[in-house]
Amino acid sequence: MKSDKAIGKFGPGPLLAILATAAVLIALYAVFFIAPVEATMGIVQKIFYFHVGCAINMMVFFSLCGICGLIYLIMGGSRGRVASFVDALGVATAEVGVTLGAVVLVTGPIWARKAWGTWWTWEPRLTLALLVFLLFLAYLALRAFTGSERFGRSVAAGLAVVGLPALYFIHFAVQRWGGAHPQVVYKGGLTVPGMKLAFFLSVLAVMLVSATLALIRTQQELQARLVDDMFLKLDAEEWK
């Protein structure tokens, strides 16, 4: 059966899942056993590793979603194989991005409470991150309500494209408008080898987990569409 064959087509396979799990465990070991405790902030700095890892990957996945939306719109929202794949990948990356965004928006204030003495402050990077998170949440809501309608998909793709410049502004917000957000990575703050290792392992671990989840969701989306199309075809044949 066609749908059965499609099951393993775009899936991540067990190897990537095992690799992602191993990377998370190694990263956790590096964060808690290799990286030393930061002198000023103390133990709370350990939040930083996965918080920044999730933030970087959130931006990567939202960017991918925006690029997918752009390609979908360029292709005129056709029902071809490439357009369908790009559209499915767009939904999957948006979902993973929103999940990572939720992690960032929860772990960030926990760290900020200890580091800045407040849960939340309306500084440029935080405000923009929240807005972009809400934008992609709106994208997913739109997709959920419009289902397989071409118009709804196109509007959602447009929404994802709108998020692209906002992502650029999140990246450069601290440089352009200031704010309390630290620029540890760009200003060369990670000088201790243990901290550097823990940081890069965390970013890699989050990336592998996110990629695995995004590929699973893409596969599911494509399968669901295939099943829907086959149901429609069968119904049409019944009517004949």
Binding site: M1, V24, F33, I43, H51, C54, T107, R113, Q223, L234
Partner: protein, 90 residues
């Protein structure tokens, strides 16, 4: 249950156990003075770290559960489709 599912289940269990318990275990060691050799001891900071990592894995777990739920729905749909096709062929 086939061997792949059993291995996956064991793997997931070990993963969940380590991921949820590692920060708490390490911080408990720290509190009793056996863990960290450097830095300062901050009880409130410890709580914050555990809370942050718990939130992180909880959000991830919810997403994975959602994926699993969708997979179940999809499998049910495929089964229904197969039945429908068989009916059509008869």
């Amino acid at each position: 249950m086939n061997i792949f599912k059993t291995i996956s289940a064991i793997f997931a269990w070990v993963f969940a156990w380590v991921v949820f318990c590692l920060p708490a275990t390490v911080l408990a060691q720290n509190a009793t003075g056996q863990g960290w050799r450097e830095g300062q001891e901050q009880i409130q900071g410890d709580t914050m770290v555990v809370a942050a990592y718990m939130a992180l894995w909880l959000i991830l777990l919810l997403f994975v559960l959602r994926i699993a739920s969708r997979q179940r729905t999809l499998k049910a749909d495929i089964l229904e489709l197969k039945k429908k096709i068989q009916k059509e062929e008869q």
